[in-house]
């Protein structure tokens, strides 16, 4: 058990949730619930890995991963925005579609070694005791990007004019529409942004923090955790980043708990019987299920600050709005 290592790993794997969670925040802030994160992530992970392998160009792989997630999300946009269908059903189908595509096209990728996104130390900062090794040493470029990304996303949503339009569209689309804001276009755009970020999250796994292609184990349900995280984070990118890092550290910490025979001077039950740790490994998923169940209750959603029009298709001029 080494806190430095746990926190370091937390930041690395937390970056996956950070991108996916913030992507979902963009979509949900615009009023569109996209339950297809897992599918978009897996497709992104596969596409990035595959392209990086075949072209030997990791940057091209990264771009394709992002676009793969984005393009897949447009299917959800078409179904829910244009055809105004149920967002839950469409999102679930998207997960099946994305997962299916990724598994088919990902056949034979296991065990391959494409070029990866570079990891490096930040000169100077890495030397700071404790802080340096945790935050600024031996991290993938994408982890460093994540440090900036969350505050930027927060600033964009809360302090810019386009960000205000985004909030309005998810809160009361009819009001935005009557003020000349193009609700349909913005909703498409932010669903696409969410998809791109899910794709990026996928590539963060397969090309950076835990490289490789392990079919559906590559994402192992982190897309769902990202959706739960959005509720925990109350649709706030900063909290989503913190939550992502926390989940990441939790996962690593649970693994590390199995190592030592003695824990705080007592016999470690996890060391004696590794079955115990299954339950611990479940915690992120259990928390996610809890968040999703609680988050689906209208009263709680309201208190947490969910966008008021989340999940509701916008139909121009409909009465009683």
């Amino acid at each position: 058990m080494n806190f430095e290592i746990i926190l370091h790993a937390g930041l690395a794997t937390g970056t996956i949730l950070l991108f996916a969670g913030i992507g979902e925040i963009f979509a949900e802030r615009a009023g569109i619930l996209n339950l297809g994160v897992e599918g978009m992530m897996l497709l992104g992970a596969m596409a990035g890995f595959s392209i990086s392998l075949t072209t030997q160009n990791v940057w091209l792989g990264l771009v394709v991963a992002i676009l793969a997630g984005g393009i897949l999300s447009l299917a959800h946009g078409l179904v829910t925005i244009h055809f105004q269908a149920d967002q839950v059903v469409s999102g679930l189908s998207l997960t099946f579609l994305g997962t299916g595509l990724a598994l088919v096209f990902g056949k034979g990728l296991t065990g391959q070694t494409p070029p990866l996104i570079p990891s490096f130390d930040i000169p100077g900062l890495a030397a700071i005791p404790f802080i340096g090794p945790v935050f600024f040493a031996n991290h993938s470029l994408l982890v460093y990007v994540g440090y900036f990304f969350a505050p930027l996303a927060w600033y964009y949503i809360n302090r810019t004019r386009p960000g205000m339009h985004l909030r309005a569209v998810g809160e009361k689309p009819s009001a935005a529409d009557t003020m000349g804001v193009n609700v349909y276009r913005l909703r498409y755009f932010y669903v696409f942004v969410g998809g791109c970020l899910a794709g990026l999250a996928g590539a963060t796994i397969s090309l950076a923090v835990s490289p490789g292609w392990y079919s559906d184990q590559t994402t192992s349900g982190q897309g769902w955790i990202a959706i739960g995280l959005v509720i925990f984070a109350q649709w706030n990118p900063l909290k989503a980043a913190l939550g992502g890092y926390l989940f990441g550290a939790l996962r690593r910490g649970i693994l590390d708990l199995q190592g030592p025979a003695l824990l705080f001077g007592l016999a470690n039950p996890l060391y004696i019987n590794s079955n115990f740790s299954f339950f611990l490994k479940m915690t992120p998923y259990i928390l996610t299920i809890l968040a999703l169940v609680l988050g689906s209750r209208a009263a709680i959603k309201k208190r947490l600050g969910a966008p008021a029009a989340l999940g509701v298709p916008y139909i121009r001029g409909e009465r009683g709005l």
């Binding site: 302090r159 810019t160 004019r161 386009p162 205000m164 339009h165 909030r167 309005a168 809160e171 009361k172 009819s174 009001a175 935005a176 529409d177 009557t178 003020m179 000349g180 804001v181 193009n182 600050g305 008021a308 121009r316 001029g317 409909e318 009465r319 009683g320 709005l321």
Partner: protein, 526 residues
């Protein structure tokens, strides 16, 4: 261009706007049938008509929310196309919608800036917007603070925000779709001052309201719609209330109410020292004592937000009663569930009819059996008896002359007045002993209002105990045997039908209990 053609905001005036031969169909309804309509700079033009006559539809077409099947729009004589609100805004057309179009968790300034580029793209320039909002607010005497979040505002304030929004964009032509429906008389007067000033400045205004007094107080011309067709266009100065009512409804409408004398019977509904708190723990009802007898209408007057809604909901079982008791026919029914209250003989016409009164995605027939769908004759075990349900629906539709394309039509597609009639029909068909009618005619046209009032009075004669909660003083005064006034969750005083003058009610509504006591002892002493 000479200065005469510009508004104070520097934008060009709309000298004339014409809509010609507008046709708009919805499934089963011809909402606009070759409608011609026009408005000029400096004019306030009223659009009048029953619920569902097609007023909002016509205005939504002008604003780009609907596309007409036929017809054209002409600005200063030239044809224009309007495909979306963006187009209409660019032409200088603004609209205040029948329902608030405000984003609740944004501030006034943010709502105003919505849809506009910022002067500091991509960053917000809310300080600039706020300053300009203050300027406008000063010029028109509108009390709004640009930095307040909408969710913290009362309805009157929100309406002022809507006006600021329109003024900010210039709004050479401003459509006002029932802007006064939820306002107090004082707020209405304040708004009218602003509308008149706007007209004097050269804006063109279109004003929709069901209140004939307002039409005469404010407007220059009136166009009347009935079933989607124009039935008259007259100068306001050359017409009168009865003529307008006639054009709207197509028959004589009685604007006064006959209250036959009825001797009240036994006490049906009793509230004893009822107190309640809201979700945040704030008291919303304080020591309410109230009796409603059989054959009696007790009016509850007051400015909105002074406990009317908690009062109705405390009786209906939707608001927890903290202290005190609610009795129906001397039985303690405090904090029973709504279903139990309905079974005990309560009928409830809720204030938020779309939200609490109907399921808007259910059909008319289904909405008629919301309470009784579990028992015969509508149900047999777990099966519904569709024949009975249909027959019941048809009977009520006929008896209450509810205007609907069919009994299978979804309720959300009915007009406000007809939804209100539907609720009334459903509640009265259950043969209740006590009825709570909260804002029963808000936003309802004069024909339906007359009908609803007549029904309430008829039921009064038949022995129903009625609690009438309304902000419309004329309505309370016209129907009630006794009137209590709510202020800050407390009953300020009680007046009989005869002693309830607008002045006395006004004082009580403003929370002047002492003066009420004086009047009370004075009257008693006499």
């Amino acid at each position: 261009m000479s200065n005469d053609n510009l508004l104070p905001s520097g934008l060009p005036r709309i000298e004339s706007l014409e809509m010609r031969g507008i046709v708009k169909k919805f499934p089963g309804v011809l909402a606009n049938d070759h409608v011609d309509f026009d408005v000029k700079a400096g004019e306030i033009h009223a659009l009048l008509g029953e619920n569902g006559a097609g007023k909002s539809t016509l205005m939504k077409i002008l604003y780009g929310l609907y596309h007409p099947e036929e017809g054209g729009i002409y600005l200063n004589g030239r044809p224009i196309t309007i495909n979306s609100p963006t187009d209409s805004l660019n032409h200088g057309i603004g609209m205040i919608h029948q329902h608030f179009m405000l984003v609740d968790n944004l501030t006034v300034a943010e709502n105003v800036a919505l849809g506009l580029k910022s002067s500091r793209e991509p960053r917000l320039d809310l300080d600039v917007v706020s300053a300009r909002v203050r300027e406008l607010a000063d010029k028109y005497g509108l009390r709004v603070d640009p930095d307040t979040v909408i969710s913290k505002m009362a309805v009157g304030e929100r309406q002022r925000v809507e006006i600021v929004k329109a003024l900010y964009r210039g709004a050479a032509l401003l459509v006002l779709d029932e802007p006064t429906a939820v306002l107090t008389p004082q707020e209405v007067d304040d708004l009218f001052v602003i509308f008149r000033q706007m007209a004097a400045d050269g804006h063109a205004l279109i004003f929709i309201s069901h209140k004939l007094d307002e039409i005469f107080a404010l407007t220059d011309r009136v166009t009347v719609l009935r079933d989607g067709r124009v039935t008259g266009a007259v100068l306001t100065s050359e017409t009168n209330k009865n003529k307008l009512a006639n054009m709207m409804v197509g028959r004589e409408v009685s604007l006064t109410r006959e209250r036959p004398s009825v001797t009240p019977g036994k006490a049906r509904l009793k509230l004893e020292n009822v107190s309640a708190v809201n979700e945040d723990g704030q008291p919303v009802l304080i020591n309410i004592n109230l009796v409603v007898r059989s054959g009696e209408i007790v009016g509850v007057a007051g400015v909105s937000g002074n406990g009317q809604r908690p009062l109705a909901e405390a009786i209906a079982g939707l608001q927890r009663v903290g202290n005190g008791r609610v009795l129906m026919d001397d039985q303690d029914v405090t904090n029973l569930a709504p279903a139990q209250m309905f079974d005990a003989g309560l009928a409830y016409i809720p204030e938020e009819r779309m939200h609490d009164g109907v399921i808007k995605d259910f059909s008319v027939a289904e909405n008629f059996i919301l309470q009784d769908h579990v028992r015969p004759p509508f149900a047999k075990g777990i099966f519904l008896n569709f024949k009975q349900i249909a027959a019941h629906a048809q009977e009520l539709i006929n008896a209450f002359s509810i205007k609907t394309p069919s009994r299978e039509t979804l309720v959300k597609n009915l007009s406000g007045g007809n939804i209100q009639k539907l609720i009334l029909a459903r509640e009265l068909a259950r043969q209740p002993r006590v009825i709570i009618a909260a804002q029963p005619t808000r936003g309802v046209d004069i024909g339906a209002t007359e009908y609803i009032h007549a029904q309430l009075l008829k039921q009064r004669s038949a022995g129903l105990a009625t609690l009438l909660i309304s902000e419309d003083l004329d309505e309370v005064k016209a129907l009630s045997d006794r009137i209590v006034v709510l202020f800050g969750g407390e009953i300020m005083g009680e007046l009989s039908h005869e002693e309830a003058t607008p002045e006395k009610l006004g004082l009580l509504m403003a929370g002047e209990r002492e003066i009420e006591k004086m009047i009370y002892t004075f009257d008693k002493g006499r």
